[in-house]
């Protein structure tokens, strides 16, 4: 009975196979390798190779050519031949994508400490000369790889006017107060509250510096922070208790500052304002 069943099954399989034509190729999966105990990725993916795609020679170390012909290999998605110079966007696009296959060592070998190529491809020519063009308005791109100190180690050694930041080249602090008076910086040191005698309501006269520094700060606030980590220079004018008392807050500040205030237990607020119970600005609503 069992033998007859096997014959029937065999005949059915043979008929189906003949009707289906040539044997269809199987799709390659990593799972098969894992199940067979091949868990070391470097068996196929050669360390230091220019491409993540294994060399066919690596396949032939273990498999016959005829056997390989029965497999199809999936279409490459993120790991094309020039992955090394193209992976940035893939890494940015999906936070968990890289880590689903790679250990963190894989990233850190190149991005922290390993200087094989000294600098990434995006840093062309003498990048010190070019970097202001790239960094202008999008310093977050720098921060993806560099710690703050990477910028400040160099920037803090330059005079502001040498950095070629427009606002720093036309600094108000060197301009005289009125005609032939003290420099603004000296006047501020002597009497911070005297600013409002000439600039009522925190309004600056039409110095180019005013709009330049505002635009630069709004686009590049992380650059300001690089050289002025505590922001004391900002508070000369933007404090609520001295100087021009010019508000630096965004337009929707009234409706969304509560969370920030609570998070720092209002200590950040008190860098510029009197404690909530006493500050007239806060008392308007609170």
């Amino acid at each position: 009975m069992r033998a007859r069943s096997l014959h029937v099954l065999g005949a059915a399989w043979l008929t189906a196979a003949l009707l289906a034509g040539p044997v269809r190729a199987q799709e390659f999966t990593h799972q098969t390798h894992r199940e067979e105990g091949v868990t070391d990725c470097t068996v196929c993916h050669e360390p230091g190779a220019l491409t993540i795609v294994p060399d066919r020679k690596a396949c032939l170390d273990c498999h016959e050519e005829d056997e390989l012909a029965t497999y199809t290999f999936g279409k490459l998605k993120t790991h094309g031949p020039f992955w090394a110079t193209e992976h940035e966007r893939d890494a940015e696009a999906s936070n968990a994508n890289c880590s689903s296959c790679h250990e963190q060592k894989f990233c850190l070998d190149c991005h922290k400490g390993d200087p094989k190529h000294q600098r990434p491809d995006m840093h062309v020519a003498d990048y010190l000369e070019i970097h202001p063009i790239k960094a202008w308005g999008n310093e977050d791109a720098c921060r993806k790889c560099h710690e703050v100190s990477f910028c400040t180690d160099c920037h803090k050694r330059f005079r502001g006017e040498d950095l070629k930041v427009l606002s720093h080249r036309r600094g108000w602090s060197d301009k005289p107060v009125g005609t032939g008076g003290r420099r603004h910086a000296e006047q501020f040191q002597a009497d911070p509250d005297s600013c409002r005698q000439c600039h009522p309501g925190g309004i600056l006269s039409s110095h180019q510096w005013t709009s330049d520094h505002q635009r630069e700060a709004r686009r590049s606030l992380t650059t300001c922070q690089s050289c002025h980590p505590r922001g004391k220079v900002c508070l000369r004018c933007h404090s609520a208790t001295q100087g021009l008392k010019a508000s630096p807050h965004p337009k929707n500040w009234n409706s969304n500052h509560e969370r920030l205030a609570r998070a720092s237990d209002e200590r950040t607020c008190e860098k510029c304002h009197e404690p909530k119970g006493r500050d007239p600005v806060c008392q308007r609503c609170h």
Binding site: N97, Q118, N138, R218
Partner: protein, 402 residues
């Protein structure tokens, strides 16, 4: 900081010792690197000597998928009087497939990231596969900042729910939080999705929401298409707004949103030759914009050589750039010798300047593999700055794999 490092090393020895007694395996790479360059702001020659060590110790416990992974650096500038300085990039125990294969645990110094944020921490990271493809992840520990060291109140944590193991779909929703001396510095929420569109494309996107600032801080929408063999089209839209710790005065300042659109097409003329073109449009607010474009070819394994050549152009806010890049490299002697050379040239005009300047770089790189486990490499590079002055810098490196 030093005490914590000692604690980690002590814990490492305690975990490793019984493993080695039972025949654990140890693999990794030790690299000795000597570099030299001229420091930009004072012209001083800098020659740091660094020793790197990365390793993985596995088979520590029979029947368990437990390994210890580490990577660190010791460095000293030979031309200065500074002492040796050390950094532990990561050093953690990686224990997978616990609790019936549903739990993974990593403990120690490690890089962590989810859809809402990322950091280097001293702590623990737990993945739990709950049901089917659904998994949850929880991590937390001390916030490591290499430069400023860290304080006892600097901590971070993250939680996420994600899909694990699906071939064509990934999705994650996550929270990420940071504390600065016990004050809540950041609370971020994030989402990340990626979906294969049958065999002709992929759509993906990321979103980060800054809860304390009540604003969406980062958005990415992308579509990648593979309509025919050899063709890849990519379109992306990206927005970002800087996020500052709530404890920083900068968190209360108004900032401008950076926006960027990008289109890229590439075509593999033959399997080893790719042509590509890319355009980027950036918006900085108040009508200021920039345009960037690049066209190039990448030839891989053309008679054993790799050749990259590209032309780039930039116009608009920030400044102008025009230039090219050429890199060629080849293996010789049955892959024992690798030689690469390159040249880059850029004409630039910064935002505030009216005159063009130019800068260039030329380099050569030679790597010789003495054995399967020992290699030496040398790289020499000459940078020509905007004033036409030459600056020679280089690197000598010995790698030993074990």
């Amino acid at each position: 900081m030093r005490r914590r490092a000692g604690a980690w090393i002590g814990a490492l020895v305690l975990v490793l010792a019984p493993g080695w007694a039972a025949g654990a395996s140890l693999h990794g790479r030790a690299s000795t690197v000597l570099q030299w360059w001229e420091r930009a702001y004072d012209g001083r020659d800098i020659t740091p000597l660094s020793q790197y060590l990365s390793f993985v110790a596995s088979d520590l416990w029979q029947g368990q998928d437990l390994s210890i992974r580490g990577y660190g650096q010791l460095t000293k500038d030979l031309t200065g009087g500074d002492p040796w300085r050390g950094k532990v990039f990561y050093l953690y125990a990686d224990w997978n497939d616990l609790w019936g294969g549903s739990l993974d645990l990593a403990a120690g110094r490690q890089f962590v990231q989810n859809a809402a944020g990322s950091a280097v921490m001293d702590g623990a990271d737990v993945h739990l596969r709950v049901a089917g493809p659904v998994a949850v992840r929880l991590f937390g520990g001390g916030d490591v900042q290499y430069v400023n060291e860290y304080n006892s109140g600097d901590a971070l944590g993250g939680f996420s729910v994600y899909l694990d193991g699906l071939d064509h779909t990934f999705a994650e929703v996550a929270l990420f939080t940071k504390y600065d001396k016990y004050d809540l510095a950041r609370l971020m929420a994030g989402a990340s999705v990626s979906q294969d569109l049958w065999d002709w494309g992929r759509a993906y996107g990321d979103l980060q929401y800054d809860y304390l600032g009540d604003t969406v801080s980062e958005t990415l929408l992308g579509l990648r298409l593979f309509p025919r063999a050899g063709w890849i089209f990519t379109g992306e839209y990206f927005e970002s707004l800087p996020v500052f710790d709530s404890t920083s005065i900068y968190s209360v300042f108004a900032t401008e949103r950076y926006k960027e659109g990008r289109l890229k097409a590439s075509y593999d003329v033959v399997p080893n030759v790719r042509l590509y073109a890319e355009v980027i449009r950036a918006w900085y607010g108040e009508g200021d914009r920039a345009f960037e474009g690049e066209v190039g070819t990448r030839m891989f394994d053309v008679y054993g050589a790799r050749i990259d050549f590209s032309l780039n152009r930039r116009r608009g806010y920030g400044g102008e750039l025009d230039g090219f890049r050429l890199v060629a490299g080849r293996d010789f002697w049955n892959d024992h010798l690798f030689i690469e050379g390159g040249a880059e040239y850029q004409v630039f005009q910064r935002q505030e300047d009216r005159d063009d300047d130019s800068t260039s770089a030329y380099w050569g790189y030679v790597e010789y593999r003495w054995t399967r486990t020992l290699a030496t490499s040398v790289r020499l590079e000459n940078l020509v700055d905007g004033g036409g002055e030459n600056h020679l810098e280089g690197l000598l490196r010995v790698d030993w794999d074990f």
